[in-house]
């Protein structure tokens, strides 16, 4: 059990190729932290530096109070689950899980006890003698988890462990992983490019882009208060609506509507951001309204999404599923300005 601290960490491959820039995060003991970002944003590299698979160019990584920059991967007391699972194909499930313990020169009865225990937790009891190729994707994934569990490490590192599973299994495994985290009472660091995984699993989320940490916070925090344009666009599905706007006298003017800003801001040009659920078919008297020319209607049963034009801008709205709309219709929609954001054109930072 331990906290993990990234202290001004930099990863540089060559003088002009820096993949992680001044990375600072403190991950608390027993926390489930998700590193999320588009591919190539440096999240995997950040994890691999912690694992000891990549050298740290600058800064310090601490596990607990110990600086691990120069500690070999095997001595860091971590376990990692790879995207490809990295099971040893010629070894049985049992041997795969026993391997790290054998490497630690643990006694046979103790190894047996730990492997049996892990396989019971993961429901692998009946597969211990099988080779990985005789297992389904989900079972292989559990073996990879088991190999990490047996070591009872201080920190669990998971590098996109669900991306090779089909959608249904992914949802199921997401829940199992959360249960596992609760049972093991260990720090989990989880890397993914999928914002749904990040939102559903993380105690906290760290969002990265182009090697730079954008925001760290709880899922709710990040959803409601994105720090900048990138975070706002990355989290949430369908994505947040972005409409260019100019600000004058406390009023933001977009191509299709005007909205009074709840507080004064120091910017004249920027982007208004509002989530699809803020655009509804309920038009409040005196509230902000907009007219949409509907292009596409998406009915999901519980929801109905309208994609269309408001003035010159593309807007997505989430309306009542019983509202009767056809593509080509013109509808009047209300905007809930309480959850509206404003991003400065220059800095792209959220001012609202």
């Amino acid at each position: 059990m331990a906290s993990v601290t990234y202290d001004h960490v930099v990863k540089r491959y060559t003088a002009d190729l820096t993949v992680v820039k001044d990375f600072n995060v403190e991950i608390k003991d027993k926390e489930f932290m998700v590193l999320v970002g588009p591919s190539g944003c440096g999240k995997s590299t950040a994890l691999r530096m912690l694992a000891g698979l990549e050298a740290i160019s600058e800064g310090e990584i601490r596990i607990g109070d110990r600086v691990v920059n120069n500690v070999a991967a095997k001595d860091r007391d971590i376990a990692m689950v790879f995207q490809s699972y990295a099971l040893y194909p010629h070894m049985s499930v049992y041997d795969n899980m026993a391997f790290p313990l054998q490497m630690a020169h643990m006694k046979k009865p103790e190894i047996d006890k730990r492997v049996k225990n892990a396989s019971r937790i993961l429901g692998l009891d009946n597969f211990l003698k099988r080779k990985p190729r005789a297992l389904s994707g989900g079972q292989r994934q559990r073996v990879a988890l088991g190999r990490a569990i047996v070591r009872s490490p201080k920190v669990f590192l998971l590098d996109e462990p669900l991306s090779n599973l089909d959608a249904k299994l992914r949802g199921q495994t997401r829940i199992e992983l959360q249960k596992l985290h609760r049972d093991l009472q260990t720090t989990f660091i989880y890397v993914t490019h999928d914002q749904v995984e990040a939102m559903t699993m993380g105690d906290r989320i760290a969002i990265m882009n182009a090697g730079i940490l954008q925001q760290v916070g709880t899922p709710g925090d990040i959803y409601d208060h994105p720090a900048n344009l990138f975070v706002a666009g990355f989290i949430g599905s369908p994505t947040m609506n972005f409409v260019p706007a100019t600000v004058q006298d406390g009023t933001a003017k977009a191509s299709g509507f005007e909205v009074k800003l709840p507080k004064p801001i120091n910017s004249t040009k920027g982007t208004l951001g509002f989530r699809p659920e803020a655009v509804t078919d309920r038009v409040v008297d005196g509230g902000t309204a907009m007219d949409m020319k509907v292009d596409v209607v998406e009915r999901l049963g519980s929801d109905q999404f309208l994609y269309g034009q408001v003035g010159g801008d593309q807007v997505t709205a989430r309306v009542d599923p019983r509202m009767a709309v056809q593509p080509g219709d013109k509808v009047r929609l209300g905007l809930d300005t309480r959850t509206m954001h404003y991003f400065d054109a220059e800095s792209e930072l959220a001012l609202l």
């Binding site: 991967a73 095997k74 995207q83 194909p89 010629h90 490497m103 190999r147």
Partner: protein, 301 residues
């Protein structure tokens, strides 16, 4: 083929009696089989001729073609085999061939496995250039090395001994062996090595517990290649061992059966067949690895 175009083809076939698809498929398959069979026949015919000749006497061999023996009256004889087995020191040569071929296979295969591992999964200075130089060595003709190497072996007192041939075969075989194994090792997923590193396995443990077990097909195919090449080699053995009968392998002994005037030709056929037995056994016992080894890297394990 899409369903639509298939349906169209079927309709067209019904209406206009044009060539249906299954017939085109059959014809393609037929062409393939004709090509395969003719290539196989072309390769087998000389061997079959040698085999038939080994049961004929000198007079028939020199006057008529081997295929005439296949028509009656049959005049086969075991004299050639009897002569070869009795009169020449074939037994010693057989043992010598093994004494040469086994170490000359094991040594390069072992060294190549270690080297290929280092070249693919360990970082050291000048690795790529060294590997390039090694692959470059593949083009050096064997013959260019004879005189300097023979001088060296003579000064070391190795000429005419087995270690000389072992070393020579090791040197000649290594570039290809390392190249072959490197390609296979490189295709192993890097996650395996990283996972093993985190699990606490050292370099040697990774090599023996992960790389070797996963590379059995590649190593087996390398062993077949090297063994067959050494077993069938005449030139290298002749150069570094000389003609002395107590160290001569089968190839040298068999070649000596024919004198410079071409006498003893009939014995050669029988001796050649005896020397073929071992390669055949090796090949058939390891052939399933052989095919997998050739496919090495193209299919992920």
């Amino acid at each position: 083929m899409t369903v639509a175009s298939e349906r169209m083809a079927v309709q067209a076939g019904k209406a206009a009696q044009s060539t249906p698809e299954w017939l085109a498929g059959r014809l393609g398959g037929l062409a393939l089989h004709v090509a395969l069979i003719s290539i196989t026949v072309a390769w087998v015919v000389p061997t079959a001729g040698l085999f038939v000749s080994s049961f004929r006497d000198l007079n028939s061999i020199t006057t008529t073609g081997w295929w005439t023996a296949l028509a009656p009256p049959f005049k086969f004889t075991l004299d050639n085999y009897q002569h070869v087995l009795e009169r020449n020191n074939l037994g010693t040569s057989f043992v010598n061939s093994f004494m040469i071929a086994i170490p000359a296979t094991i040594i390069p295969a072992t060294l190549a496995a270690f080297a290929a591992y280092a070249f693919t999964w360990m970082k050291f200075w000048g690795r790529d250039w060294l590997f390039l130089a090694l692959v470059g060595l593949l083009v050096v003709p064997l013959q260019a090395t004879f005189i300097p190497l023979l001088k060296l072996f003579t000064s070391l007192g190795l000429t005419g001994t087995f270690p000389a041939v072992w070393l020579a075969h090791t040197g000649y075989g290594l570039p290809f062996a390392i190249y072959l194994l490197s390609n296979f090792f490189r295709a192993l997923p890097s996650d395996l090595f990283e996972s093993a590193e985190i699990d606490g396995a050292g370099t040697l443990t990774v090599f023996f517990r992960i790389v070797l077990p996963l590379s059995v097909p590649a190593i087996a195919s390398l062993v077949i290649f090297q063994f067959l090449w050494v077993w069938n080699d005449l030139l290298v053995a002749l150069i570094y061992l000389g003609g002395s009968p107590d160290v001569s392998p089968l190839t040298v002994t068999v070649a000596n059966l024919v004198n410079s005037l071409g006498q003893g030709y009939q014995w050669l056929t029988a001796a050649a067949f005896l020397s073929m037995i071992v390669p055949l056994v090796v090949f058939f016992s390891l052939q399933r690895y052989f095919v997998r080894g050739i496919l090495a890297g193209s299919v992920k394990g």
